[in-house]
Amino acid sequence: MIDAKKTIVVTGIGVISPYGIGLSSLRDGMLRGECCLRQASELYPGFEGTVAAVSVLPPPVEGHHYSRSDRLAMAAARDAVEDLSGFDLRESGIVMASTVAGLTEIDPEITKGPAAWYRHGGLSRAASYQVSRVAASVGEHLGILGPACAVSVACASGAMAIALAANMLLDEAAPMVLAGGSDALCPFTLSGFNSLQALDQEPCRPFSQDRKGLNLGEGAAVLVLETLAHAQQRDARILAVLRGWAMTNDASHPTAPQKDGMGLAACIERALEMAACSVDEVGYVNAHGTGTPLNDIAETHAYESAFHGRSRPVPVSSTKSYFGHCLGAAGALEAAITITAMQEGALFPTLRLNNPIESSKVDWLRGELRREPLPVAMSVSAGFGGSNAALVFGSHCL
């Protein structure tokens, strides 16, 4: 017997990605196997490497200064609530993840003399610097007045935003919560990951034995979350059930993942436990899969440990091979993709995975798109600082 007040459901999904605005553009592009990765120098002269950029960002709002990350978030949130016409959003909550946030608006000139930089147009740009602005911008854009917060936990941020939003709903802090993530491409992160030698100059090859690193992308995704009771009360269409969620930390290294993947494995196990879901029920895992040498092998070990009792290898893919790593938005975009996979019965393959890491426990999805019913699927995220997050989605209520 389910408790409708304690069951969290997804009733809306908004996306802006390198494929365009809307979940349908993302879905159709991925079903076609289309890769959005391009040369970075086309966008940022002087930068080498491969990125995926959004080309359809709505124009800035006159009279306000919003960062590119803010604008991506606002576009995704607007898309998410498109079907909610007539519903009063004012008391809703917002949990938005970002790591870049308003860094897109700051440039190195600020260090030569902040006061002068502010005098020459920097003041309004700096006002969008704080990560909390991303959530505040969504609230301003949609007239939402409920509890709002931003989450910044590196690349696990987007998934954590969804987990924290689910807790807020259990606490009855708001009748509905818009949760997701948004991050824009900018020289700061391109330069930072380049300095770490973490970028693959070519399109990335997650989980491949000859992987060389990640590609950066940008975008935003926002999920509309509410309790089943609330959704039923307003006769909403239920897209998925968030059956379980968990967050852990490796406490192992400031940047590198734990080599044996035990922190991530513990996270997966906790999320499955909350979902009351056996390892055999999981039909698909949308992996973190950045394409970096350290992440992908640690993540493989995590799957081997967390799914060791399965009767058959667990199907896993990294959809970062389609449009790069969107950092704070990644977990939210991948949650949206996981739900799409369930709706379509489509197990998206990892692109360019010709020579996968050897594992008898993992069924690497590659080559042709595989079609099969997916009652339960999972999205996994990890980030600098050892943080992990896992979300378990079901296609229907138990």
Binding site: G46, F47, R90, T99, L103, D107, I110, T111, K112, P114, A115, Y118, A126, A127, Y129, Q130, V131, S132, R133, A135, A136, I144, L145, G146, P147, A148, C149, A150, V151, S152, V153, A154, M160, L164, N167, M168, D171, A173, F188, L190, S191, G192, F193, N194, S195, L196, A246, M247, T248, N249, A251, S252, P254, T255, G263, A266, F384, G385, G386, S387
Partner: protein, 348 residues
């Protein structure tokens, strides 16, 4: 006492009062003169005096860390010590870290931009980059204490600390952690200070050596406060307050919402939080009087208001340190834009 509610059992802080475990003196404090960067004249702020972290927490290595991470390590260690917690006896995979910040690791973000300004984007510093992420301090806390539970960094316009406290309590309530260390803090840098100045947000007391007045604007501050939050029941070294309930919002009918939160509670104290902006303070006082009648008002102190979004825990620490007795309290903050945070506490 309701044993299902989370309890504040330990406090550690690195603030302009210095690094301390437990309650602090909370004597009125004058801002310090800024000498860390060149200023066009006298400039003052509530600054943390330099100290050697290892002198407070033996064995602590902070040479490669920014001040925010170093202070988070010191404050969390002091809070655990104050709570009398022996981590070796606990399941560390069930201990969460919740960190609230307004600006994150802004010192290293500026340093990274500096390296770009000097060397170009192709010559930036790989050691600095990962430490610019806002979650670096919380990660260092997890790494130092081997805490493998949820590790979350949040920011919320005007109420980062209050929302972190409420969300950490939520983790305990839903069985996602057995204990949480909640931290809130920020560092002050030249770029942040000059942003406030360019935006005409600063109090006149920032520009002269006169004693503080209540005149408009605020005096920027810095520091980190850590609090241990756990379910009631463990014999604790100290026991400061029970967090009964709380909520925060960016707008709407604050009065009705807070009234609903209070129910039939008889308040003994109202602790004013908020960011210290003049209109926010006025609105705060008004709200407090309307909502809580003639209860004792513990006003917001400038040293905590200066910490802005992350100041909520320092407001609470100062109130706990100054309070005249036990009883039911409301930690109440409002923002200039109609937002509010309200936490109901039973002060021990």
């Amino acid at each position: 006492m309701n044993t299902t509610l989370p309890v504040l059992t330990g406090i550690g802080s690195v603030t302009p009062y210095g690094p301390q475990a437990g309650l602090i003196s909370a004597e009125p404090l004058e801002p310090s003169v800024i000498t860390a960067w060149p200023t066009p004249g006298l400039r003052r702020a509530f600054l943390v005096e330099p100290f050697r972290p290892a002198s407070i927490v033996p064995g602590l290595k902070t040479r490669r860390l920014d001040r925010l991470s170093a202070w988070a390590l010191v404050a969390s260690s002091l809070a655990l010590r104050d709570a009398g917690i022996d981590l070796s006896q606990m399941d560390r995979s069930r201990i969460a870290v919740f960190f609230a910040t307004g600006f994150g690791c802004v010192e290293l973000t500026e340093a990274f931009y500096q390296s770009a300004a000097t060397n170009g984007w192709a010559g930036t510093d790989p050691i600095t980059f990962p430490e610019t992420l806002s979650n670096a301090p919380a990660s260092h806390v997890a790494l130092f204490h081997d805490l493998r539970g949820p590790n979350v960094t949040v920011s919320s316009k005007s109420f980062a600390a209050e929302s972190a406290l409420l969300q950490a309590a939520s983790l305990l309530r839903h069985g996602q952690a057995d204990m949480a260390i909640v931290l809130a803090g920020d560092t002050l840098t030249q770029a942040v200070y000059e942003w406030y100045e360019a935006a005409h947000r600063l109090s006149p007391a920032c520009f002269c050596n006169e004693p503080m007045s209540a005149a408009g604007g605020f005096i920027p501050g810095e520091g980190v406060v850590a609090m241990v939050l756990e379910p009631a029941g463990r014999p604790a070294a100290s026991h400061y307050a029970v967090l009964s309930a709380g909520r925060w919002a960016t707008g709407g009918d604050a009065q009705a919402s807070i009234r609903e939160l209070l129910g039939d509670a008889h308040l003994d104290f109202t602790i004013c939080s908020g960011n210290g902006a003049p209109c926010a303070t006025t609105s705060l006082t008004g709200s407090g009087h309307n909502l809580v009648g003639e209860t004792a008002i513990i006003p917001a102190l400038p040293v905590a208001a200066g910490m802005g979004e992350a100041g909520g825990l320092l407001h609470l620490l100062l109130a706990l340190s100054k309070r005249p007795g036990h009883g039911e309290a409301l930690l109440l903050g409002t923002s200039a834009h109609g937002g509010y945070a309200a936490l109901r506490l039973e002060l021990s």
